[in-house]
Amino acid sequence: MKSFMTFVLIAYCFVIIAFGAWDNLVYRDDNNVMEISERLNVPNTVTAVYLQSRVYDTLFEIILFTMVAMAVALMLKSEPVHEHNNQTIDNSTSVYGSLVGVLSLTAFCFVVLNGHLSPGGGFAGGVILASGISLYAITSGFSGVNRQYERMKAGLIEGVSFVIIISSMTFAAVFPEVFQQLNQKQSFGALFSGGIIPMLNVLIGLKVYAASWKMVGEFVARRGPL
């Protein structure tokens, strides 16, 4: 009964929205792709909008993502850790896993460095690296990879890079022209063109990698590897 009522209500709303939306979804002729591309000297305008003209949004997004990663760790700290942590490691899968890890590192470099030239960018790259590395970790021992992560003092580096990211983003949001002086002479489509965009892409990629690796790691530690 309740589900039928819900169905009727939702169907009613859906019909009204579907009819009302028709005149909003008309063909528009204007968009400012060329304008953005010329002003910033960058081919991929999505990345340009994302990291220059609306970088104020992205600033909040990075803070949100980092904070959720820390909150996940904080919340799960008091929960019981999975007891049976004796993971069976098969040698051949471990080799394939490490292959996937290395491949994901290559893909990360490509997607992040070319973020302003072709589709891609910091977020996609960071997540590619994180999922590749966690696949490697699942196949060849999670605790070892985790220990490696701690030995590299990744927590401290992460914190420092986080502060660098947010302050440079704030600066880039308010004074967009300053960074463009850096590499103005580079030709259109060169690897180091487009002001601060490539640098922000790399920083965001590393940051997203660290945060998502942390989240996956927490989930695995509480629920046990597959």
């Binding site: 309740k2 009204i16 003209s53 909150a71 919340m75 704030t170 308010v174």
Partner: protein, 479 residues
Amino acid sequence: MDILLLPTLPIITGSIAIILHRKKRLAQVLFFLCCLAVITILLMQLNQEKTFQIGGWGDTGITVGFDALNLPFMLSSIIVAVAVSLSAMTRATYDGFFYGLIMILLGSLNAVYISRDLFNIYVTFELASIVGYILIAYGKKGKQIWAAMKYALLSSVGFSVFLIGAGLAYARTGSFSFLSLNEIGSLAGALIFTGLSVKSGLFFVSMWLPDVYDSTPAEIPLLSGIIIKAEDYLILRFITYDSFQWLAPMYLGVGAISAVIGAVYAFNARKSQRVLAYHTFSQIGFIVTASNIHGAWHAFSHSIFKGLLLLSAGKISERLKTQDLSKWKGKMTVGEYIPLLIGSLAIIGFPLTSGYVTKGGIIDSVPLTGVVMLTIASVATVISFCKFVFIPLSKRKLKLPKLLIMSYVLLSSGILFHGVIKFDYYKLGESLAVIGAGVVLYFLIRKYFRPISTKPEKLDESLVLFVGFIAVVLTMLIL
């Protein structure tokens, strides 16, 4: 450009505090420095109106601005945050992470207030509400986690609806900026309004609220209270644009109904925090009914007096280990009673308090049907706060922590200062008549108080109520 410091300064200091969350002392020092800076910047903006395009990107970029409507909200959020942290410093359970979270909350709320861009509002508001979920679940008790879960599910559904509205607005105008809100069309306006209404604290749509209030420790409800105010600010802001004008009768109706039903639920409830939660429904109803600058100042005074009430009632219930008002008889000390009394006087609109000033302003600015409903709601408010005021006290002396007293003094001085400087004679008779009627009614009908069923607060039912609310608003659209 200096208004951009309002969000970014707390956010950067908050991030530093979160990274160094093992150093609690440092986080507290950073917090007070940051609050001082924000208040200074805020007072420099007094009586100014400005807009600023970040980076000068036109339609593709983001615009921020500041005007008279922002001031009460930003002021109240910072006062409440200071009071919360003063009170939190008396406990050992809150670490540096907590102060970092409050700073980020403050920064993201300021970002919501100064933003003039639909999508920027989504991002910043989502950040504020995520801080809210984390703070609600901070105690890690089952009930708190469930309350946070309910809040998160409901508001995520709401944000999806909001995003559809924002997308429709972009499809029509080619910009997310508030400048184009006059042309976005009524459907997009309806979806934006209903999508955000989940967090507004109105009855029927924000049914997650009582659970949050009665399960969390004394400080957290204050913070979720200021998150609610951000959404009320957006309601008041949107009504000034053409695409939302047709919703004005809806605002009036929903606000007035929420004011009355909330108060009726409240005087029937037994637990102190639930009474206060239902009164939030009622007072938000007042704000939404007015939907003008008087409403904004009522939101300011509501943040502060409700903060005082929640803090003192929460501390009492933690000491006595029960929220049941009938068990407080003869156990409350004088020191605990005074802040409760000041808060109660303010919420019922007693002369010389801030509630008197702002309620008077609201009653003056609404149409006649609104006046009738709001007067009924005021009488019901008096009835339920008689429960707090007429509790017999104990003779015992209890020493309260100094910081807690400081936070009580901060909030009460806000109430009294606002009430004294804006005092006006011509509402005096009306206010005293309402209070007298309420007290008499309380002694007549207090035998019949029974808690009303909490079924609408269950997760599924509150979601159905929300969808029903969308359906009602859309029906208004086609009529």
